[in-house]
Amino acid sequence: MFIKDLSCISAQETYHNSVFTDGVKDIEDLKIWAQEPDYKDIIPAGMLRRMSKLVRMSVATAGPFMEEHKNLGGVIFGSSNGSVDRSMRFLRQIIQYEEGTLTPTDFVQSTPNCVAGVLALMGNITGYNTTHVNQGLSFESSILDALLLFEEGKVSQLLLGGGDELSEANYNIESQRDLYKEESIATSTLLRSETKGTLPGEGVAMFVVEAEKTKESLAEIIDVDMIHHASKQEVAEKAVQFLNKNGLKPSDIDAVIMGRNGDVRTDNFYDHLQNELFPEQGIIVYKSLTGDYYSVSAVATWLATKVLSGTQLPSECIWKPLNNQPKTILLYNNCEGKQHGFVLMRGVYSSTSSE
């Protein structure tokens, strides 16, 4: 499938793309909050006042697509947590008011599928509407869903996205699982911190994807695959198998976008993959810009599309220098060393195209 349009809100200024011109912002905090745009010019005030952060970030990124792309046949969104903050508020109200009358807004804004529902209503997209919530593979599953839907030939254009929000509620919950750094560190030092935990982030990336290549196509998502609870060697074997399935071998890959997050307990999966399969390739990283969250591979896909369509990356994204302008990119991300996702992408005018 082919990416026709894209938009992203993250901790960097990705919404207006000035991260590529004005540089990367170094953030020193325990939580990496999204840099949200001024919504007043994007979302009507009457709608904005009810929206959770995840919904307003999603509407701001996907809203302009509704005007520009009139053939959207469905919405597929990946979000592990939805709007946890609203869920917690709703649950607290149940206790506080002893299961009495509850306000509807917190409830309807709390579920992950609220995003896809709001977008469908806004764009009058009455077709396929699904939300994938399987933790660190939420966005990879969304990609798979879109690829299968295109394969069935039922739609020609879809809205595809992934995002999660950061709140005190989910920070407190996930902290109990020892996922985050205990010390405040600068994002610029995150990936070489060599301590346990990462920095939690938030954001949304949205794409208009199509079954067929057009002159407006920016990049192609060739395939996606996943593996759970695997050893480092099994992950490497899975990567080779995935590439072989698509007629490629590791040496055909120009660059790998890796989801290193500075957690010494799980970054060794990336080290192993790099050393075993991609010792010569350029390595791109991004979680030092955005923090980590369950659907963050949507940002990696956004970044890959930028690279494949010729955008020069900031030096902060380069873990190992690129040998040339990448034409074929492998994305690899693992969530807590348990869920491993692969996405294979290439530039639309790549010489390795099988067309």
Binding site: G46, R50, G100, T101, T103, T105
Partner: protein, 89 residues
């Protein structure tokens, strides 16, 4: 409670419950309609539920008849009248 005091309190609660963050209490006209085309703040059906929750939680007043709700929530002035009439001010 004095009328002015109740008016300010209720408007502050309406802003909080409906998340009308761009408004100050003074921006909500006491006698202006809360709903419909003539309403300056143009509330909708979900707001009506939020207002009924407000009345129940803050004033222990439960609205069960939709027709009654339409009259009670016509304006801030009507809401004040309802609260005072039920001795909940």
């Amino acid at each position: 409670m004095a009328h002015e005091e109740l008016e300010l309190k209720l408007k502050t609660q309406i802003i909080k419950y409906l998340n009308l963050m761009e408004l100050e209490p003074a921006d909500i006209k006491t006698d202006a309609p809360l709903f419909g085309p003539d309403s300056p703040i143009d509330l909708d059906s979900i707001d009506a539920i939020e207002l009924s929750v407000l009345l129940e939680r803050e004033y222990d007043l439960k609205i069960t008849d939709p027709k009654q709700g339409k009259k009670v929530m016509a304006s801030v002035e009507k809401m004040i009248e309802y609260i005072v009439a039920n001795d909940k001010a």
